[in-house]
């Protein structure tokens, strides 16, 4: 199996095609426009449909329609466009429609800029749309993972009948890295007897809806969703640890920040500081169990994010007061460099733990 050089945006598109996604509805926005370009060319090659909708609101509702019909379907955007999609995401969650939404985050709030950011963590993991619901949120940190996790996202979406978000900062869409493409395409399509494919294909009438006028019936759905979210939380937490065995100061970072922190941990260790790294792969469900176990031994946590401290709150919940949780972040599309994070690690470590 040979490696090819691929751009992140293309890897997401190829991952979707390899997962059997044949429908894409989207609207271009930097830094994810190359993904829409790629799929506009690639989907017709495999008999699929690419459609540029008139807006993000239209795209997400087209996703709703295609998912109702049982298709593997995807849309993508960046911050401002994802905000426009929130109503649709709530409807998808309420109607339990499997779908994949990609957010390549950029600097905000507002129109912001096109530089990389991780400031949409709250929006993705704590709601964003209205009502009690959760998206499954995946945070790849390399071009290879953008490809692999896009495929995983479709499987998870079908398994739980739930929208899945792939969240990465904008630079990941544009960076290039070697990627291994499996020779054999394995598509795990599941039966969707609930889909509205017409009475030729299923017994009686299938109805997909998120409107429950009678509160008792609404609560039934809410209870079912709550149980599903509990299952997902139990089964799907994913996390990676690096040099945690004897780590006293533990960095926690996802996506691109985790790559920077890996270098920080190596440099800190070279300077005699026992540092380690936790890298959440699923942001929802957050890897509470993993972080909690580490909190039994670690003396300090440092969450490093391209935001003001959003995932940090989940780290605090997981640590439950057993170890202090600090935050280091750069904002507005700025990227922390290894040296500045290392200085922060040194400051915290020398300031207490290492005495």
């Amino acid at each position: 199996m040979s490696k090819i050089l691929m751009k992140g945006n293309e890897a997401i598109g190829e991952g979707a095609v390899r997962a059997g996604c044949r429908y894409f509805f989207g609207y271009p926005i930097t830094p994810q426009s190359e993904l829409t370009h790629f799929l506009a060319k690639r989907l017709p090659e495999v008999g699929g449909l690419y459609m540029q909708a008139e807006s993000e609101v239209a795209s997400i509702n087209m996703v709703y329609g295609a998912s109702c019909a049982g298709a593997r379907v995807m849309t993508s955007s960046s911050g401002p466009g994802i905000s426009l999609m929130q109503e649709g995401l709530s409807y998808l969650a309420g109607a339990e429609l499997p779908s994949v939404v990609v957010n390549l985050m950029r600097g905000g709030p507002g129109l912001g800029n096109i530089a990389p950011s991780q400031a949409d963590y709250f929006q993705a993991t704590k709601g964003g749309g209205h009502g009690d619901y959760h998206l499954i949120v995946l945070a790849p940190n390399s071009v290879q993972e953008l490809l692999d996790m896009t495929q995983t996202a479709f499987d998870l979406a079908d398994k739980y009948r739930n929208p899945v978000m792939i969240m990465a900062d904008g630079v990941m869409g544009q960076m290039m890295e070697p990627v291994e493409l499996a020779d054999q395409l394995e598509i795990k399509q599941v039966a969707k007897p609930w889909a509205t494919t017409g009475t030729d294909y299923h017994e009686g009438r299938n109805l997909i809806n998120s409107c429950y006028v009678i509160p008792e019936q609404m609560e039934d759905l809410n209870n079912r969703l709550e149980k599903k979210y509990a299952d997902i939380t139990r089964n799907e937490q994913q996390c990676e640890g690096y040099l945690l065995e004897d780590a006293e100061i533990v960095l926690v970072a996802f996506g691109m920040a985790s790559r920077i922190c890996r270098a920080v941990v190596e440099k800190a260790r070279a300077g005699g500081i026992p540092a380690g790294l936790i890298r959440p792969i699923t942001l929802w469900p957050f890897p509470m169990e993993f972080v909690s176990k580490v909190a039994d031994k670690a003396k300090i946590f440092l969450a490093v994010e391209l935001n003001m401290g959003q995932m940090m709150e989940d780290v605090k919940l997981a640590a439950s007061g057993r170890a202090p949780v600090y935050h280091y972040g750069r904002l507005g599309g700025m990227i922390p460099d290894v040296r500045e994070v290392l200085r922060e690690v040194e400051k915290l470590y020398r300031g207490g733990v290492g005495q």
Binding site: L5, V171, M176, E177, P178, R259, I260, R262, D337
Partner: protein
Amino acid sequence: MLEAIYLAGHGGQGTLSTGQLLALAAVKEGKCVSYVPHYGVEKRGGVSNCGVTVSDRQVSSPFVTEPTVLVAMNSLSLERYENAVVPGGLIITNSSLVEAKVSRTDVKAVPIRANDEAEALGDPLVANNIILGAVLELTGVVSIKTVEESLKEVLPPRHHHKIPVNLKALERGAQLAREYINPTGE
């Protein structure tokens, strides 16, 4: 082996294509590679930089903030990034456009008149590969042979007739770098 190469210039100078060409060649040689572009919103003339990290091991941070090699295609790039280069690193300037000298004394500085040399080869568009030739010569990060194979992939077939002049540019750049480092040829 770890080379963190930062190529900096303005739109149209070929910094991004040079970075991609180098990254592809490194993949072909089985190395670990990350390529991260950085450009402005301008259609033309804005900042156009990229970082290429080539290593034997998994690349942790793909951002080139402490380059081992800086290529400054214009004056602004030298001004901005000269101080970021690691001690003992290499700075190659496109001295057709960069008049200033490298002020650091703890790095190796190599000026290459890339635009003039490209004109002399009959194609001003190959200035970037004159510089790349010098990078390859001075770092050995990948071989010219692999870059030649990569050119066939990155250039669309309608531009394949340009491969010979690009190869000449790579070789000329390598030669200029050799002569600069070792002027007497000993």
